[in-house]
Each structure stands twice: as C-alpha cells, then as structure tokens.
Symmetry: C2
Subunit: 391 residues, 2 copies
C-alpha cells in the first residue's frame, strides 16, 4: 500500500483530431499552460517535467523534452525528460512523474503527452508505427500495425469462435460514447449495424478488422500536474493516485501468447495490490483500445471475464456507461483518437474528469474509483493507474 | 545532502567503434549481462530497467526499452523505460534509475545506454543528429551539428580571441588519453601539432573546427547496476553516488548565450550542493567534449577558469592526467567515441573504474571523488553526477 499522498492536481487537454493550425510545440505549450492554470501553479513552481512522445520519425525534432519550457521564461533550469514506450509513452511520463514525487526530487511535476501525426503522409505514419514492432520495424507492410492486431483477431477467432460482431459492438459503444466527449476526434454515433458490417464506408483494413475496428491517426496533447500536497489555488478538486504499476513483456512476438496480454495482466494486478482494490470496486476503466480486438482481450486481462469469454462483457452491456463496469466512457482511442504519446496522459485526464464530477455530458452518475490502462506494442509495455476521488 | 545510500554496484562496457558484427540488441544484451555479472545479481533480481538511446531515425526499431529483457526469460514483467534527452540520453537513464531507487519503486536498477550508428549512411547520421537542433531539425545542412558548434567557436574567438591552438591541444590530450582506454574508438596519440593544424589528414569539417575537433560516429553500449545496498556477490567495490542534478535550458538558440552553458552551470552547482563538494575536492572530471570547443567552454562552466579564460586549463596542463584537475582521462567523446545514447552511461563507468582502482593503464594515482557531466544539444539538457570511492 502507498503510504504517501499522490495527487493529480490539475490537467489540460487539447481537442484530438486533425489539427492543422497546431504544431507539436503549440500543442505542448497550450496543454501545459492549461494544466498549470487548472492547478493554480505559477510556472516557476514546477520542479520537473516529463514528456511522453513516441515520434519515431513523425516529427523532425527528435529532442523535444524542453518544448514545455516554452511556456514561460521562469522554467529555465527545470529538469525535463522525454520518455518513450511506444503507444504507452504517455503513461510512461505519468509514472516517471510519480517516481519523481516519491523520490523527493520534485514536489510539483508537470507531465505532458503529445503527438503530431496528421501532417505526415500515410506511409510515414505507417512506418513510424511499425517502428514499434520488433519483427516489422524497417520493413514494408501493406497493413501496418492493423495487420498485427488483425492476426491476433484471426488467432482469437480460431481459438474461441467468431467475434466479428462483438468487435463491431465494441466499436459502436466507443463511437456512441465519443459523441459526448468535446475533445474527441470522431464524434458520430455510427451504430452497431454500421460497425458490424463491411461496406464502402467501412472497408476491411486488415481482415477481419474493418476501419471501425481501428483507432484513427490524430494530433493532440494532454497534461497533468502531479503533487504530494493539495494546492491552495487549484480550480479543481484533486484526484488521488492510489496505485500504479508497469510491466514489460518480451519484444519478439514468439515470446508471447498473442491472446494473453500477460504484461497487462501483471500491471493490472500489481496496481490493484498497491491500491488495495479489486475490479468490482471500480466505477470506470479507461483502457487501451487501439483496435477493438485489444479491448476485447483486455476485458479478459482485467478479469472482467474468463479467457475466451471477453464478448460477454459487450454482449451483456456490462461495459456501456449504464453497465456494471463502464469501459472507455470517453470514447476510448477508437473515438477520442490516438495521438500516440498523448493517449496515456489523456486517459488519466478523462478519469480525473469523471472522478471530479466535471465530465459534462460524459459524466457517470457514480464515479469515485477509476483504473487507467495504457499499453505499447502488442502488450509489450503495460501501465495501470488506480485513481480515487477526493470529494 | 543525500541522506540515503546510492551505489553503482556493477558495470559493463562494450568496445566503442565501428562494430559491424554487433546489432543494437546484441550490444544492449551484452553490456546488461556484463553489468549483472559484475554486480553479482541474477536477472530475476532486477526491479527496473532504464535504457538511454537517442535513435532519431538511426535504427528502425523505435521501441527499444524491452531489448534488455532479452538477457533472460526471468526478466518478464520488469518495468523497462526508454528515456531520451539527445546526447544526454545516457545520463538521463542513470538519473531516472536513481529516482527509482529514491522512490522506493526499485531496489536494484539496470541502466543501459546504447546506440548503433555506423551502419547508417552519413546523410542519415547527419540528419538524425540535426534532429536535436530546434532550428535545423528536418532541414538540410552541409556541416550538421559540427556547423552549430563551429559557429560557437567562431563567436568565442570573436569575443575572447583565437583559441584554435587550444582546441587542438584539447584534442591532442584526449587522443593521448584514449590510447590507454581499451574501450576507445580511436586509440592513436595524434600529437598536438597534427591536431592544431589543417592538413589532408585533418581537414576542416566546419571552420574553425577540424576533423580532430569533432567526436567520431560510433557504435557502443554501457550499463550500470544501481542499488540502495551493497551487494554481497559483487566482483567490484561499489561506487557511491553522492550528488546528481539535471537542468534543462530553452531549445531556441536565441534564448541562450551560446558561450555560456548556463544549464550545465546550473546542473554542476546543484549536484555539488547536494554532495557538499567543490571543484577542488575532485580527482577527475569526465565531461561532454562532443567538440573541443565544448570542452573549452565547460572548463569555464565548471569553474575551473573564469569566462573567456578556458584555454588556461589546457595551456597550463591542469586538465592532463598529471595535472591538478584531470579531464577526460578516458579520452572523452573525442577519442573514446560518441555512440549518443551510450555516452552518459559510459562516462559513469569510466569514473567508476578510476574510483575503484580498476582503470588499468588509464588509472590515476589518486581517485576518490569524480564528477560526470553529460549534455544534450548545445547545453540544452544537462546532467551532473558526483561519485565517490567506497574504498
């Protein structure tokens, strides 16, 4: 159990989407500025900065840690570090921020996740994302990372039977949720029928995954202020971090059972052990639905269903906002968008909004305990945080 | 003052140079394995892994944190994180490792720095390194990062008078030192006359910098085991970390006086304040001589001379192994080589060898206190560690 206070004391979030008028720098600066104002902190009060960004060739500037210093001349000398764990780079930054607080090297940490993607041509984006795969990095692939998760979906169906309709239902749920998220990239309730079927408007990207089974390429950024103490001038109630864990798995695909996200399971149980909580205690989960098959398998990894039974969670409506375990009320990566480095930080912001009752049209009636799950690669880098309302 | 024990309990180091028979993975795995054996640790006893690597397009695999898990199947589930701060990525990994120890999230941390560069064509290497510059990232440049430091050298000479001979003397010192370093890329005593003059064998890279004023492009890796306790089965005496600090400066060049490495100064003084030490207490300094002009300006930044008087340190022989303040006894980046992400970790290994009396032909007669300085960009990300012998 954590014997120290750890708070999310403020946050900022850009709209996710095709943000042609924003650069990586303006995204970083704007969410950092928002988070500081929200926390009621002056820039000069920040002790450390962590930036989560994948990059991998998406942006020519390959040394981005100090971009956040552009917020204010008062940030001279503040330690700023970029951390990268592929699509979990955002949570990596959050967890390094937590470590800085616990280490006593910082009292007030600014955490930022950011990615600018839509300016790059599809081939560059595909190549950058494939850079996260041990086997395919540097190689050509028609289907990119979708192809990797498509092979997981195929293997899943081979082992457990058809789930194409369940995947479509997951997509439809997240699109329906995303309508209520003002930050989301895609805000359209596409409906189950559209998501469950192949059509001109919903073609196969990599069989059996349709376009609606894949998260979009997005620009965006999100930021948090992490502290040991409640801040006197904050404009929000803080959220308490009561558990956190990271577990990495081996990179070569042959070392992992693709249908068991073993690293995600390990991070999940460790974080709950630290928090002293169980799945049933949670009011919501934000988890890493880069592809709908990932969300399906994660239902199993977090213990919501047995292995091979993930579809029960969507078939029975458990994971809808009205269900017993709302998953991705924000719309998830699927509808909110997936600016790689921003995602993990964004998930923490989405949970914080719920836990402080400030989620607007997304707000759940009861939200006092949330879990956030962010992963890099095919469950290679896995992070889980358990967050609690202080209200 | 640090009120807790922090030890470097073991280390590993590859040869630096053109290592055609090594991949990034074999480099990472071999130094990690060496460091664990040196520390007398089983892989399963490692609590956390930090990898410092710049990459920036040098290597197609853009998600490298878990490469170290290839050391052993027992490393499943260990949190592994890549940190990047350009040429200070190595020290960034070391300092994140320290934070994990202080945070209590780990008792035994494996820190690795690695870079594979020589397989890439010169244009790719140049473009990757320019990725660390805010103004030139993504642009063409005939002279690359050498051009940036050349403009610093020109500005320095405009303000303080000619130093071309002093730069040549710094190069000659580091090349002479490198002869005794079995890990060094370049092991030839080129002599002051060669380094101080332009010739067919020593052409201008970017005026006034000659080839001998620039560190080479190298492959290599280094690793450390960091612990809170002395390890019972270690094959070396541990080295104590008594001070550490990081300071970032603004990215745009217009925000910085290029002749004052203000961020390096800040990190230097903070680390000494934590350690309760002064320059005069040190027996050696390993500092970031990516270009000879950097070493010259760093003599001033660390307080060895007044501003504009850096050449006194080399003219008077203070910084030779026989002098009052030996700098880069290892040969520095200049002779040892500069595999970007490996450099900061390597500098800690070089200091550890000296402090444990195991530096072989490099060994100084007295070495009980050392400082390590590693920087990214033109003094944008700056790290200093103060290390003490336990013997």
């Amino acid at each position: 159990m954590l014997d120290q206070d750890l708070f999310i004391a403020g946050w900022g979030h850009s709209r996710f989407g095709r943000l042609e008028d924003q650069s990586l720098e303006t995204l970083v600066v704007s969410v950092a500025d928002q988070a500081l104002r929200c926390a009621g902190l002056e820039p000069g009060e920040v002790d450390a900065i962590f930036l989560g960004q994948f990059n991998a060739g998406l942006h020519p500037l390959a040394f981005t840690s100090s971009l956040a210093l552009q917020v204010s001349p008062d940030l001279f000398g503040v330690p700023a570090t970029r951390v990268e764990n592929a699509c979990a780079s955002g949570a990596a930054a959050v967890h390094q921020g937590i470590a800085a607080l616990l280490a006593g090297t910082a009292e007030r940490v600014l955490v930022i996740g950011a990615e600018k993607m839509t300016h790059a041509c599809p081939a560059t984006v595909g190549s950058a994302l494939l850079g996260a795969d041990y086997e395919l990095a540097g190689h050509q692939s028609e289907t990119g990372f979708a192809g990797i998760f498509a092979s997981v979906a195929t293997a899943y169906q081979d082992r457990y039977g058809p789930v194409s309709d369940a995947l479509g239902a997951i997509a439809a749920k997240n699109h329906r949720n995303g309508v209520h998220n003002p930050y989301a990239h895609l805000r359209k309730d596409l409906g189950a029928q559209f998501c469950q079927n192949i059509s001109d408007a919903n073609p196969v990207v990599a069989g059996p995954l349709r376009r609606t089974d894949c998260s979009p390429v997005s620009d965006g950024a999100a930021a948090l202020v992490l502290t040991r103490d409640r801040l006197p001038h904050a404009s929000v109630e803080p959220v308490r971090i009561i558990g956190f864990a990271q577990a990495n798995d081996f990179l070569p695909r042959g070392s992992r059972d693709p249908l068991v996200f073993r690293g995600s399971e390990a991070a999940w149980w460790r974080a709950h052990e630290m928090a002293g909580t169980y799945l049933a205690d949670l009011d919501l989960v934000e988890l890493h639905d880069c592809f709908t098959i990932a969300e399906l398998i994660l239902y199993e990894a977090i213990g919501l269903t047995d292995r091979g039974k993930g579809r029960m969670a969507i078939d029975n409506g458990w994971v809808t906002p009205e269900g017993c375990m709302p998953v991705n009320v924000s719309g998830g990566l699927k509808a909110k968008g997936h600016p790689v480095g921003a995602t993990g930080v964004s998930q923490h912001v989405m949970a914080a909004l719920q836990l402080t009752g400030t989620a607007g049209d997304m707000q759940l009636p009861t939200a006092s305990l949330a879990a956030v799950h962010n992963m890099g690669g095919l469950a290679v880098a896995n992070y889980v945080s358990i967050l609690e309302s202080t209200g």
